[in-house]
């Protein structure tokens, strides 16, 4: 169990340039059917830590959410073919971090239309540094063909394989360009890294991520879905409505504690020492690798 948690923590730090440390030759894709023609495709093995991909396969073709890493693209294409799908017709990026979007570099040049939030596309056009606390990851600008062709700000709809798909952006959260993708017919939502099912969230604070925005984001999605909705996290096991609900409860309580400590003038070390996450660490893992640090920074009073 603890190895899973460690792996998840690494995921949460979005493996990023960790591409170098990942052995893709040892990777494989595991598919799990969540509803007819609707699957989650999870990369594993070889220390590979890519975001969860969701695939809708049906009469109109194939739509995926998140594109993982380039070496994994042929692998999940094979998986999609084994599930009865053909070419990928659309790919949505939940956000711009490379463990969710780097596969764009294969799909885009192959002519697959890419869809993302305005801010995610903007980030993909630039050279970025992602401060994951233990290290700083480097993500160079993507070539033009790997950039999203369709972008939006608040909402966009797709109508594909017989269902309506709502793309929703609420506020800066994990990044400044997150999208929740709600499949209305299948009754499922892909949350990207706004929600991790077994790790604390990572706020990419140096690039506009925001603790309060992440809570607001999750609440908005909870208001758009129902108790039967399948909740796919950016990383980790597929979850349910109640898991997202309890995640929000946890974040609200942790936030309150850290804000109170900051108001008392606590340093980061003092916040860590106060163990503001203690009762949830068994579920979400070590809070000191990145979570409390980024939370402390995000929750500083705005000038």
């Amino acid at each position: 169990m603890s190895t899973i948690r460690v792996a998840l923590a690494v995921c949460a730090l979005h493996a990023a340039s960790a591409a170098a440390q990942q052995d893709f030759s040892q990777a494989r894709i595991t598919a799990r059917e969540l509803a007819p023609g609707f699957h989650v495709l999870v990369a594993g093995g070889g220390g590979v830590a890519a975001g969860n991909t969701v695939a809708s396969i049906g009469e109109q073709g194939v739509l995926i959410v998140d594109t993982q890493f380039p070496p994994l693209v042929p692998m999940y294409r094979t998986t999609i073919a084994s599930l009865g799908g053909g070419d990928i017709d659309f790919a949505i990026n939940t956000h711009w971090h490379d463990d969710h979007a780097e596969g764009n570099k294969v799909l885009g040049p192959d002519g697959v239309p890419l869809i993302a939030h305005d801010n995610s596309r903007e980030m993909l056009t630039r050279h970025n540094s992602v401060n994951v606390v233990r290290t700083v990851l480097d993500q160079p600008a993507y070539p033009a063909l790997a950039l999203p062709i369709v972008t939006f700000d608040e909402r966009l709809q797709m109508h594909f394989n017989g269902e309506r798909i709502d793309l929703v952006h609420v506020a800066p959260a994990h990044t400044a360009g997150d999208v929740a993708v709600i499949f209305r017919g299948r009754n499922a939502v892909h949350m990207g890294d706004v929600f991790l099912s077994a790790a604390y969230p990572f706020f990419d604070v140096d690039n506009g991520g925001d603790f309060d925005g992440l809570i607001e984001f999750c609440r908005k999605v909870l208001g758009e879905i129902d108790r039967n909705t399948i909740v796919v996290p950016g990383h980790g096991e597929v979850a349910a409505y109640g898991d997202l609900e309890s995640y929000v409860d946890m974040l609200v309580q942790v936030r309150g504690r850290i804000v109170a400590l900051i108001a008392e003038g606590a340093t980061l070390e003092q916040v860590v020492a106060a163990k503001p996450t203690a009762e949830w660490d068994a579920k979400y893992g070590n809070p000191t690798t990145y979570f409390i640090d980024r939370a402390y920074k995000s929750l500083q009073p705005r000038q």
Partner: protein, 301 residues
Amino acid sequence: MRLASLLAASLALSASPALAQLQNLDEQLRTTPIRPEKLADNFYVLFGVGGNIVTSIGEDGVLFVDDQFQQMAPKYKAALGELGGGRVDFVINTHWHFDHSDGNQVLGPEGTRIVAQENSRQMMTKNNVIDLVSQKRDQPAYPAPALPVITYDSDMRMHFNGERIDLFHFGPAHTTGDSAVIFRSHHVVHLGDVYNNAGYPFVDAGNGGSLSGVIEFCQRVLSEIDESYVVVPGHGPIARYQDLVDYVAMLTTIRDRVAALIASGATLDQVIAAQPTSEWDEKKGNPTNFLNRSYLSLSRP
């Protein structure tokens, strides 16, 4: 087919004073060629039968704004080939009326991705009646492959052939699902039938269109562009920024006159008799149908 043609002709007609020429839509569809007018390298307006098409051709492929009638599809595909384009990758429908989106029924099944405002897609999923005053035109629901796959509410963007393309919806206007499509590098906007440059506009008041909405929609577009922009109307010749300014001024004057008449208790016949459009009729044609729809639109609470 014959009735449909007649009715179709009369919708096109609301956009054109050349009524007599439009008596036979089938004949038109058979004989009218696609006439490209170049706005820039790899960027054209395609005139044919139905709404004006704008096309961008480049390294990302081909994008269309509007796709006219099914019968025109072989012709514009051929024209596209001569202009160096291949298959149509994307079509944006400025709205759901058949003379702008009937071609979806050819392009959609071929794999072209169709984009529209959400309300336009909803209209395309239903059987509709378009009340053109002179006649009522049926527009049956489109089959699934002809429907937009991507829709938006107020705005979205495309990034295609090296430029940003802004899609805006500013509320009910010609229909409840109009889009303005702004090509930011080419400085071109396609306004669909919110801007008619071939006569008075048709406000589809029977399906939620609004004369005041047309005015506001145009004003919002004017605030998004500047005097360097080329303005492509849904029908009629290519125009400039100032033409759109003049159009808004005309519609505002007429709207205020008609609204005042309605407030004083005037019937439709009395509004028509008052000739609130007289100084533009020579240029824009017979205002009777326009006034009919304006009256309905402005009579609403």
